[in-house]
């Protein structure tokens, strides 16, 4: 009797950290399957590949914390990046200015989303979905689907190394910590959590719920734009498939990490970060093992499934 309770206790503790445990297991499996997996070069690659999704994931975490989903992040990322890139390449604007413009443009789109959701009181899914359609349409009209190459000034960021990592990787990691501090240790962040964990209550207590929701949408848009900025450094060009389906990848990543879709629960670090990292690791490991390209998706999906299943066991107990 007592014994079984102890086991159950142990199980619960384990399950609470299931994602991390599973992440570690995945890493062990991959490293035993490929000697190239557990090398510093590969881990730099993994970090580097995760920057874009990490940026989008940070923003999305804020939207999810207030209990809303932003489906326009992918398109927004592409929009902000393309428009700024066009300005800098075709209209000769200052490249540094345009880099800063990317997150701002993203934030602006977020503002529109947020206003439509909070002020006109529209359904967030449809607003952001419509925004996605509209943004993709606009981008295609503007760029004529031609890839835009970044000027050298932008690419230079790649070569600035800090602790042996490219500057943009360090940058996003620093921003991640900053956002986590804001979420965890600032009035603003705490009120966002309050709004997400009990909307009606927040309204009752006279917290300006609308503005907090609006802010979350702006942040989500801002980080989508920032993702555009990172990819333009990382990739050196803005191409036409950028942003396609990111909303789903990003949602699955942060949910995998433990951010709740229902609002209130979640963190940028470690949760969103862990989710993004695990997803990147899975992708990296599978590629390294040379998984059959036809089965790649299936393998990835099944791994996510197992993880979500383990994670859900604790809800049933």
């Amino acid at each position: 009797m007592n014994n079984s309770i102890n086991i159950k206790n142990l199980k619960l503790t384990a399950l609470n950290h299931a994602v991390y445990i599973f992440g570690v297991i995945t890493i062990i499996v991959f490293s035993s399957l490929s000697e190239h997996f557990l090398t510093s070069t590969n881990w730099i690659t993994i970090l580097r590949n995760s920057t874009l999704m990490l940026s989008i994931g940070i923003g999305l975490t804020f939207a999810l914390i207030v209990g809303e989903l932003d489906l326009s992040v992918g398109a927004n990322c592409r929009f902000a990046a393309s428009v700024s890139a066009l300005l800098m390449v075709n209209h000769g604007w200052n490249p540094y200015l345009c880099m800063i413009l990317m997150p701002l443009l993203g934030g602006f789109i977020g503002l529109i989303n947020g206003l439509l959701v909070t002020r006109v009181k529209l359904n967030a899914w449809l607003v952001t979905l419509s925004m996605k359609l509209a943004l993709v349409g606009i981008v295609v009209k503007l760029t004529n689907t031609v890839a835009i190459n970044m000027p050298q000034e932008v690419l230079n960021f790649r070569n600035i190394k800090i602790f042996g990592l490219s500057s943009f990787i360090v940058f996003i990691l620093a921003v991640m910590i900053l956002m986590q501090i804001i979420l965890r240790y600032s009035t603003f962040g705490r009120k966002l959590v309050a709004v997400g964990s009990n909307y009606a209550a927040a309204e009752k207590l006279g917290i300006n719920v609308k503005n907090y929701k609006l802010a979350a949408f702006i942040i989500s848009g801002f980080f989508a734009g920032l993702g555009g900025m990172l990819i333009s450094v990382n990739l050196g060009s803005i191409t036409r498939e950028l942003g396609d389906g990111y909303e789903f990848t990003a949602v699955s990543a942060v949910v995998l990490g433990g951010v709740s879709l229902a609002g209130g629960e979640g963190s940028v670090f470690p949760k969103a970060f862990a989710g993004v990292l695990i997803l990147t690791v899975i992708e990296n490991g599978l590629t390294m093992m040379g998984a059959d390209i036809y089965l790649f998706q299936i393998a990835k999906a099944l791994i996510i499934f197992v993880m979500m299943y383990i994670d859900s066991i604790k809800n049933k107990m």
Partner: protein, 503 residues
């Protein structure tokens, strides 16, 4: 006009669609006094307090505080006037810590260089919490604390704001005895600090105990104003209900009907341990214990709403055989009134009639739902239960707390079950409805239904139960037969005072 009292609300009007919720309400209160506000369900008590708290705006009327005319249109106004409301359902944020919940209004004060000073915040929170005698860890997340502790958060919030006028909306309906005593002590403190306290409740003994004066409301109007020293419970009851209300008592003989339900070795970690009992036909079985003793959890694990670790349930089927039955199946066959109507009771966004028929959809459908029949039935139940509402199409979320409770009772009674589980049958309902519900329960039992009742009101156990099981720390420690049921006995047993009852 000269203002005689420190606080005066004059000629308030508030209309909701189809309801005149406040009709020319004038209420005054003095500093250093406790004002009770009582009345039947849907009288407009909560509406009055919500208006004061700025959560809804009145349509017309005036407020005078300290002789000055003030506007209260929103929460900001209310905060400016130092008014704090402790809600009927505690308003907390489940994903924030207790301390953050307490200081949710003043997080800014704890910010230094954009960063929250948690150390200071936790210290202050413990100070405020210990001031009101609450033993809560300020670092705990609010989703992990009990209902009573949540209420303490709200009270602490009022203290933090240094409120002049403190409003309580049915604070005791989910508090333990200890917590209740504590609350009364706090109210006394507030009174001594020359604050104004207004207090809504359906428990008249509480009114007599802590209030100096009480107003009685009915259908949006103030119909009475009593000085406590000059009034008796009886007068108050007639004041509220408009007529005498009889106390319903189970007069029946101790009967030994056949066993209909048997629970064996039920375990559900951590709250439920080794539960064995059986229920007989026509019997009202009470589960009595302190708040948090795990009574709700026992019922939930019987129905497998919390997945039990081990245990078996047997139920007598139509042929009279005791057969093993799964929790889900049992739940399908019985009726279950849940403890928390918001969380797992009502369908707030649905109209009353759908709520009333939801538990026994099968009775209203033969392939197709018989909507006509549903409406007729709901109207009948609304009349019978005296649910105060314009019509049956009103959304349940607009009903007053007590009326919502009546809707749940109506739903379960309508199912005509052979086993009936009730968790807190009369939480938040007025004297009238309480006696009606009691009568209904008795009637069901007399018809052969086995009733399992969890009630935190000791009178309810005394008056209704044929047998009481004492629950302590998630196990059944004792059984009290009808002849032995007395207030003293139950209290002693649940506290574990009597010898030999401990595990």
């Amino acid at each position: 006009m000269e203002r005689r009292s420190y606080f005066e609300a004059v000629n308030l009007h508030k209309y909701f669609p189809g309801v005149h919720a406040l009709n020319d309400v004038t209420i005054t209160a003095d500093k250093g006094s406790v004002l009770g506000i009582i009345g039947i369900n849907g009288a407009g008590k909560s509406t009055f307090m919500n208006a004061l708290a700025g959560e809804l705006a009145i349509d017309s009327g005036e407020y005078y505080i300290g002789g000055e005319k003030t506007e209260i249109r929103n929460q900001k106004d209310s905060e400016k006037n130092r008014i704090a409301l402790i809600h009927q359902e505690a308003v907390v944020f489940k994903d924030l810590t207790v301390a953050e919940n307490v200081f949710i209004y003043n997080l800014k004060d704890y910010t230094k260089a954009g960063r929250l000073q948690y150390k200071k915040m936790y210290e202050d929170a413990s100070r405020y919490l210990s001031m009101i005698g609450a033993q809560v860890n300020p670092r705990e997340l609010a989703k992990n604390i009990t209902v009573g502790e949540k209420q303490m958060i709200e009270i602490a919030r009022a203290l933090v704001r240094d409120a002049e006028i403190v409003l309580f909306d049915e604070p005791t309906s989910s508090l333990s005895l200890e917590e209740k005593e504590n609350l009364f002590r706090i109210i006394h403190q507030l009174k001594e600090q020359q604050k104004i306290v207004m207090y809504i409740t359906h428990f008249l003994d509480e009114v007599l105990k802590i209030c100096d004066r009480t107003v009685v409301m009915r259908d949006g109007e103030v119909t009475g104003d009593f000085r406590i020293r000059e009034v008796s419970t009886r007068e108050l009851i007639t004041g509220i209900a408009g007529h005498e209300v009889e106390t319903v008592v189970n007069q029946g003989e101790e009967n030994e009907g056949e066993e209909v339900l048997k629970i064996e070795n039920l375990n559900c970690y951590p709250a439920v341990k080794n539960i064995n009992f059986s229920v007989h036909k026509g019997e009202i079985l009470g589960l009595w214990g302190l708040l948090g003793s795990g009574r709700t959890e026992i019922i939930r694990s019987i129905f497998a709403l919390d997945k039990p670790d081990s245990g078996a349930i047997y139920k007598r089927n139509k042929e009279g055989k005791m057969l093993k039955i799964s929790g889900h199946k049992l739940l399908e066959e019985c009726a279950y009134v849940t403890e928390d109507r918001h969380y797992d009771g009502l369908f707030m966004a649905m109209p009353i009639w759908k709520n009333i028929t939801m538990a026994n959809i099968r009775n209203f459908s033969n392939g197709m739902m018989d909507v006509q029949k549903e409406h007729e039935y709901s109207i009948k139940m609304i009349e019978e239960m005296q649910i105060k509402t314009p019509d049956e199409n009103v959304l349940v979320e607009t009903l007053s707390g007590g009326n919502q409770q009546k809707v749940i009772m109506a739903r379960c009674i309508g199912k005509n079950p052979d086993v009936f589980f009730i968790d807190e049958p009369t939480r938040g309902v007025d004297v009238n409805a309480k006696s009606f519900i009691h009568r209904k329960i008795l009637e069901l039992a007399r018809q052969g239904c086995a009733v399992v009742m969890v009630s935190s009101e000791i009178e309810e156990n005394l008056n209704l139960c044929d047998r009481v099981l004492i629950v302590r720390n998630g196990t059944i420690t004792d059984e009290v037969r009808k002849t032995d049921i007395s207030k003293q006995n139950l209290m002693d047993l649940c506290l574990g005072i009597k010898e030999g009852q401990n595990e």
